[in-house]
């Protein structure tokens, strides 16, 4: 049985069905890249996995245990499944260090000093140790996103969901964020990422999934998806990406 399993996931907003029965299994240490046009359901899929959105039908299993539906302690689940957002969403009223230590201290029961030491260690790894006392509005977008990743990592998640984490960044800041994701992939963290960075997806993904209008249309190893996609839709999507000069 796979580590993270999605089975027949359905989600509608009003009358509009955003996810039309998604099946996906993710093995431990796999990096899955979700690609597809805006509105294809990438973000919604990620938000459903850690229960930020309730799902209408289907199940999510983590390590064999059903973690969707009624009666599941979502607060507990979210300690296992971390999420990083497109717009960073750092808490503006707290310093970088407080952003990172808030959850470990309040939820993880870690002593403040220990949480501090661990946060500083993580910040050193992303090259932001000296900005520990800065407030988010003093950081560049790339720095904020690196802090947001560290904030999520500080809870020691078993799966990391990354929702278009470079889409809000200026082009010259994308690399510093992707570098961290690359390191995490090399260390074997299981990740699900929605992205428009095709080159990066091709490099880092174990598998690439193409979503189209709420359906998982095609999945496969990156080389296959990017060079000889089976589906016409995938081909058209990749063609438009190439025309925009993004691959």
């Amino acid at each position: 049985m796979a580590f993270l399993e999605l089975e027949g996931l359905r989600k509608s907003y009003g009358g509009h069905e955003v996810l039309k029965g998604i099946d996906l299994s993710v093995e431990r240490h796999e990096v899955i890249c979700l690609i597809g046009a805006s509105g294809s359901g990438k973000s919604t899929l990620l938000r459903c996995v850690n229960a930020l959105e309730s799902i209408d039908a289907g199940t999510v299993r983590l390590d064999g245990e059903v973690v969707s539906g009624a009666g599941v302690d979502v607060n507990l689940l979210r300690k296992d499944i971390g999420m990083v957002f497109q717009s960073y969403n750092l808490f503006p009223h707290m310093s970088v260090l407080d952003n990172i230590t808030l959850a470990p201290v309040r939820l993880g029961g870690l002593p403040r000093e220990q949480a501090r030491a661990r946060a500083l260690e993580l910040l050193r790894r992303v090259g932001l140790e000296e900005r520990a006392d800065a407030y988010p509005d003093r950081l560049s977008g790339g720095q904020q996103q690196r802090v947001a990743i560290v904030r999520t990592l500080a809870m020691g998640p078993r799966v990391l969901l990354l929702d278009e984490i470079t889409s809000a960044l200026d082009p010259e800041l994308v690399a510093e964020v992707l570098g961290i994701v690359r390191d995490l992939a090399a260390e074997g963290l299981t990740m699900l990422l929605a992205t428009h960075e095709m080159g990066f997806a091709r490099e880092v993904a174990s598998r690439v999934c193409f979503l189209h209008q709420g359906c998982l249309l095609e999945e496969g190893p990156p080389e296959q998806i990017f060079t000889e996609p089976h589906e016409e839709r995938t081909r058209m999507f990749l063609k438009s990406i190439i025309e925009a000069g993004r691959l």
């Binding site: 850690n50 930020l52 971390g82 969403n89 808490f91 808030l102 939820l107």
Partner: protein, 366 residues
């Protein structure tokens, strides 16, 4: 390629627009001069009146000095008026030499200076109107509202009573902060389980805001002692006032808090929830701290209203500044003591109003 095919839609083919030839704006200059002359004449008339009305003694000298200073100060209105006049003549000269650019610049200066003179003249005339009103009917207004001797004599008693207003205001403000936050959170209680609490809080806020504050004060101040509720009925008048104002302003400030909480972007809540925080923990650590910062200016506005409404407590007989002033006013058949109360409220309120403005400016700049 024809014009329709470009993205600009052929905008480059638009006809050239020419600036009109300026006029020397003599009318403006004349109006500025007239305004200055009018303001000066009126000021001198009132100044003469003021000196004539004053009784003998040092008071007369002081008034005389003020009158002379005013009569001289009003001459400043002639400065922009004279500037407009000169610019108008220079403009005419420039036009004669067909220097259109210089003429345009001078014409603009005429208008600017003339408007400055007219604005100053209007302000002077308004101020004179107020002085004339005070001096009307042989200075009856001044004697009724601004009797210097009586104001001086009643000041100590009123200032002492004003301390009661301040105590009521400060304690009520502290209680309102807590109560309003509870109400706001209750009004936003999530889900089906939160619905009864939500409805109850909404009803409280709607109902209390519908009832005039003076009625709530009356009901609590006279009702609680009559009802002989244990604990609550033994309080003194000041506490009833504090209680009533907390009930009333809790509802207003709850709406301020609610607006602040709702203004926090949902992505902040998503981030906090995704870390594993519960709804209440998210409110406590993420939403409310940010919301509170955001609502400080409107919060202070409500607090200023609360301070002023401390004067309403005189209906239940607490000896606050207003009640004390009314006693003095009745004894002397003169309202100058009430003016003292008004002045005290102005003195504590204006600095806070300015503070709110500064906070708002700072908020907009960040």
């Amino acid at each position: 390629m024809t014009a329709q095919q470009t993205l600009l839609g052929g905008a480059s083919a638009a006809p050239e627009r020419a600036q009109p030839v300026p006029a020397p704006a003599r009318g403006f200059a004349a109006a500025g001069m007239t305004g200055a002359a009018l303001a000066t004449a009126a000021t001198w008339a009132v100044a003469a009146d003021l000196v004539g009305a004053a009784t003998a003694g040092p008071w007369r000298w002081a008034l005389g000095a003020v009158a002379v200073a005013g009569a001289l100060a009003v001459l400043a209105v002639f400065r922009p008026a004279w500037d407009a006049w000169r610019a108008s003549r220079a403009c005419a000269a420039a036009l004669e030499e067909t220097d259109v650019v210089a003429a345009r610049r001078l014409a603009a200066r005429v208008r600017e200076s003339a408007w400055t003179a007219l604005g100053a003249a209007l302000a002077v005339l308004c101020a004179l109107g107020a002085i004339v009103f005070v001096l009307a009917n042989d200075a009856a207004v001044q004697k009724t509202f601004l009797d210097g001797a009586l104001m001086w004599a009643s000041f100590p008693d009123i200032a002492r009573a004003f301390a009661t207003n301040l105590v009521i205001a400060v304690v009520a403000q502290a209680l309102v902060l807590v109560w309003a936050l509870v109400l706001a959170l209750a009004r936003l209680a999530p889900g089906r389980a939160g619905r009864p609490i939500r409805r109850l809080a909404t009803f409280y806020i709607d109902a209390v805001r519908a009832v005039p504050a003076i009625i709530v004060i009356y009901l609590i101040g006279f009702g609680l002692p009559l009802a002989e509720v244990p604990l609550l009925s033994g309080l003194n008048q000041t506490w009833y006032a504090i209680l009533a104002l907390t009930v009333v302003y809790g509802a207003y400030v709850a709406e301020v808090f609610r607006a602040g909480i709702e203004s926090i972007h949902p992505s902040q809540i998503a981030a906090s929830r995704s870390l594993g925080f519960s709804y209440l923990a998210t409110m406590r650590h993420v939403v409310v701290p940010q919301a509170t910062r955001r609502v400080i200016p409107p919060l202070l506005n409500d607090f200023i209203s609360l301070q002023k409404d401390t004067a309403l407590v005189n209906v239940i007989g607490s000896i606050d500044a207003f009640n004390q002033a009314k006693i003095l006013a009745a004894n002397n058949f003169n309202l100058s003591s009430v003016t003292v109360v008004a002045v005290l409220f102005i003195l504590i309120t204006i600095p806070q109003a300015r503070l709110v403005d500064r906070l708002l400016t700072r908020e907009r700049s960040t």
